[in-house]
């Protein structure tokens, strides 16, 4: 079965540089999520998109932005990189079902992650 694809898998940048991470969700999934996991930490939710519109926002820094394109792939853009941005960045996707106005949260399928190192 197709899984979530993330590219690149590893990325090394210098401070103050810009990075772009890409995510290709599972076909027919309508929701994409981005998470950041620092060393020894739990994943922190950054932002999500449902049907190409921003759906929810977590602890995403103002230096970061994201979007979802017409083919449902998503990109996380990170500018003015700092040492503290070094982390594993996960993309996840799901098929969100809405029943009587209530969201039914099916499994979020995670990609393998992009390991970003800022030097």
């Amino acid at each position: 079965a197709a899984g979530v694809i993330q590219s690149p898998r590893h990325l090394i940048k210098e401070k103050r540089e810009t990075a772009t991470l890409k995510c290709y969700p599972i076909p027919r999934h309508d929701t994409v999520y981005w998470y950041q996991q620092g060393p020894g930490q739990d994943p922190q939710f950054l932002i999500s998109f449902y049907e190409k519109m921003q759906s929810d926002k977590g602890s995403i820094p103002d230096r970061f932005s994201a979007q979802q394109f017409s083919d449902y792939h998503s990109e996380l853009n990170m500018s003015s990189l700092e040492l503290g941005d070094s982390a594993l960045y996960f993309c996840a996707s799901s098929l969100k079902v809405r029943t009587s106005g209530r969201a039914v949260h099916n499994e979020q399928f995670f990609g393998p992650g992009t390991r970003l190192t800022v030097l």
């Binding site: 998470y35 739990d42 994943p43 929810d56 996960f90 209530r102 992650g113």
Partner: protein, 115 residues
């Protein structure tokens, strides 16, 4: 805001034993979902089990089962007949049924299965 607490940073058991990982959460909502995710050394996040708060029956998936106590806001994971491949970080996670998308994770429990 919801919080998820895992009070066991690390646990170690012998292969074939049964182990229980604890998780408590705090929320004022009545409609929500709870998950256990496994993160092996590869760092891949893998769903182990999912529980819907409005379902009283505890979820089970083969050797994995949960003890969901809604009133106590407790959601523990029991692993039966533990295997070496169960060695991983285990994260308990919460998501609101009210429209918010992001999972809120606990700090994780590092489970080590000894041969």
């Amino acid at each position: 805001a919801q919080t998820v607490t895992q009070s066991q940073p690390e646990m170690s058991v012998q292969e074939a034993e049964t182990v229980t990982l604890s998780c408590t959460y705090d929320t004022s909502e009545n409609n929500y979902y709870l998950f256990w995710y496994k993160q092996p050394p590869s760092r891949q996040m893998i769903l182990v089990i999912r529980q819907e708060a409005y379902k009283q029956q505890n979820a089970t998936e083969n050797r994995f089962s949960v003890n969901f106590q809604k009133a106590a806001k407790s959601f523990s994971l029991k692993i039966s007949d533990s295997q070496l491949g169960d060695t991983a970080m285990y994260f308990c996670a919460f998501i609101s049924g009210g429209g918010a998308d992001g999972l809120t994770f606990g700090k994780g429990t590092h489970l080590i299965i000894q041969p």
